[in-house]
């Protein structure tokens, strides 16, 4: 068994949750024109994202304040591990949002020169490759996480799997978004092909 989770961590997590909710309510105009299904997901997505940002800021601020204001007389050693945990989850959560928006960094120069139909097929093939990569990460990420449930972090008292789980969860979400992008691209491309035939 690992050590107990620090009480301060619970308190900080609740505070971050409250602050995040206040911020999301203040920014509710973002979701005004979205259809209900999309709106529900985007609220969750934004809430998690802002929670992670506010959490990172709070954890880092606590580190600085305890170090300088209290000259290390009050030591909260778990803040660094907490910051790393939030960083790992934050960056992978950000990556899933970028995947949903189909906006990851890529080299499009050659692709843009291809004929439209050929370029469309290449993009679909690219989606299949992305699927394959994400499938591997998901599978082995689950395996790694399962192995790490019995090992605990030194100061947070959480299973190391709390870090490792970010990888399969993010890749699982990215698989879903890649699927949605693939279907959208397939439909869009098929429609364009149909219209061009009809015009001919």
């Amino acid at each position: 068994m690992g050590m107990a989770i620090p009480t301060g961590l619970w308190a900080l997590t609740i505070l971050i949750g409250v602050a995040t909710t206040v911020l999301i309510v203040a920014a509710r105009g973002r979701f005004a024109r979205m259809p209900p299904g999309q709106k529900a997901w985007r609220v969750i997505e934004d809430w998690v994202c802002i929670f992670l940002v506010v959490g990172m800021l709070a954890a880092a601020a606590l580190q600085v304040v305890t170090r300088y204001a209290f000259a290390d007389s009050v030591s909260i050693v778990w803040t660094e591990e907490f910051l790393r945990l939030l960083l790992v989850w934050g960056v992978l959560w950000g990556a899933t949002i970028v995947q949903r928006e189909d906006d990851h960094i890529c080299m499009s120069v050659v692709h843009d020169l291809l004929p439209e139909r050929f370029g469309w097929m290449i993009r679909l093939a690219g989606d299949v490759i992305v699927f394959g990569c994400l499938g591997l990460i998901f599978w082995y990420g689950c395996e790694n996480s399962a192995n790490l449930f019995g090992i605990y972090t030194t100061s947070l008292g959480l299973p190391v799997a709390a870090f490792a789980l970010a990888m399969p969860i993010a890749s699982g979400l990215m698989i879903a978004f890649t699927g949605a992008n693939f279907i959208r691209r397939l439909r869009h491309g098929a429609r364009r092909a149909f219209w061009s035939r009809a015009e001919r």
């Binding site: 994202c49 600085v64 890529c106 120069v109």
Partner: protein, 431 residues
């Protein structure tokens, strides 16, 4: 080159050309490398390597510096800086062009991304320059050149990624970029002055000294932010991560409470934009960590070192060749993948030839920044052409001299390592 390495390179090239996101190009190439490896490495190593690549102490400051830059863009900072720069530099030959360069130089101390700087200053200063009688394409090209100062003057996202890829001190890299950044600013200002005299571009009326005081007082908190960030790192008061946090808090305080331009909605919007940027960069970092292990497995970097040393042992010749290589590469690929994939391959050669990795870092970053100006992958150029509503041909009609000036700065920084190394050697010497 062994057959597995050739297959890895072929996979990498084909998928890159197919417009597969670079992170997945790296993952696929790593999978090929792992599968073909004669050593018993399972694919289970892939997510572990990726996770370890992200869970890096050096990278903790990156999200905060990105957030600070994004928050600065909508907190009224740019407008105050432009007012201050107009009061002090508007009367010099090339008035508004000088103002644009000065604003970008100071913004560089708050934002580490040249794309973000270009977008923010372009929206504000291109209309202002057009109003003052400058050709709009010239305005866009001046801001494009000036935005490249951003990632040279600390904080710099590119330097943090470089440090993560090479284990070079961030503090030394930050300091090393300062003088080259100021040198580039000075060269661009000189060039703007020359162009303005030649074409008869207008300058602003001189602002009396008594009127400069209130403008300075209003802008003082903004001007203090970059000084506080770099000062705290150099003085050893704060680590780069802590300094980045101080920067975020300072921008929130200045934009939210002092200027009252930053709202809660703005904070949420900018935080989401920042996390998307962070996500896109970190996925490449994670994938590059796995790819770099595969390359190490096959000894690619060592082979490159042997090959290069067989060709030349002159550091300057090597750096000049690398400059050309980077400039070509920068035309096609984004900065982050180059920093994470190419730099670790070249690093053993850099060390073998006795080149300081910090000096090499500055050269690399400046090269990649020039690449952001050149088509077909000139992101900064595209952003500014869209803001200015001009074509790439119109942009390049005025951008050639600025491109040339940047090449001169690159050449000086390459040939005179002291320009990069004097400050870090003075303030943060290696023990």
């Amino acid at each position: 080159m062994s057959a597995p390495v050739m297959l890895i390179v072929a996979t990498f090239t084909i998928l890159l050309v197919m417009r597969v996101p670079i992170a997945f190009v790296l993952i696929s190439s790593s999978v090929v490398g792992i599968v073909l490896s004669p050593m018993p490495i399972g694919l289970a190593a892939l997510p572990t390597s990726m996770w370890q690549g992200v869970n890096h102490f050096v990278l903790l400051s990156l999200p905060f510096f990105i957030l600070m830059g994004d928050l600065a863009l909508c907190s009224g900072v740019t407008q105050r800086l432009a007012d201050w720069a107009q009061a002090f530099f508007g009367h010099i030959s090339g008035g508004m062009a000088q103002v644009s360069i000065v604003v970008n130089t100071i913004m560089a101390g708050m934002s580490g991304s040249d794309l973000a700087d270009a977008a923010a200053t372009g929206k504000l200063l291109i209309p202002a320059m057009r109003h003052s009688g400058y050709p709009v394409a010239y305005a866009a090209s001046v801001i494009c050149g000036a935005a490249a100062i951003g990632p040279l003057i600390p904080p710099s996202i590119n330097f943090i990624v470089f440090a993560a890829a090479t284990d070079v001190s961030i503090g030394r890299l930050f300091l090393a970029g300062a003088v080259p950044g100021l040198l580039l600013a000075a060269l661009l200002m000189g060039q703007a002055s020359f162009v303005a005299r030649r074409h008869g571009y207008p300058k602003l009326p001189r602002v009396p000294y008594r009127d400069r005081i209130p403008v300075t007082l209003v802008s003082l908190p903004v001007l203090a932010i970059p000084v506080a960030i770099l000062g705290s790192i150099v003085a050893g008061i704060a680590t780069p991560t802590e300094a980045s946090l101080v920067g975020v808090c300072a921008v929130i305080a200045v934009g939210g409470f002092l200027y009252r331009s930053l709202t809660l909605r703005d904070f949420v919007d900018q935080a989401l934009i920042s996390m998307k940027t962070v996500g896109a960069i970190f996925l490449v970092i994670a994938a590059a960590a796995a790819f770099s292990r595969v390359l190490t497995l096959y000894g690619v970097a060592d082979s490159v070192t042997q090959w290069v040393i067989g060709l030349t042992r002159d550091p300057i010749v090597f750096l000049l060749v690398v400059n050309v290589f980077y400039l070509i590469l920068g035309c096609f690929i984004d900065t982050t993948p180059i920093l994470l994939v190419v730099v670790p391959i070249l690093m053993p050669t850099v060390k073998a030839l006795g080149i300081d990795p910090v000096h090499f870092g500055v050269i690399t970053v400046l090269n990649l920044l020039i690449g952001l100006m050149t088509p077909p992958y000139g992101l900064t150029m595209y952003v500014l052409c869209r803001i200015a509503d001009i074509t790439i041909q119109e942009f390049w009609k005025y951008a050639w001299p600025i491109f040339g000036t940047m090449l001169v700065a690159l050449l000086l920084i390459t040939v005179f390592p002291a320009l990069s190394l004097a400050l870090p050697n003075l303030l943060l010497p290696v023990n």
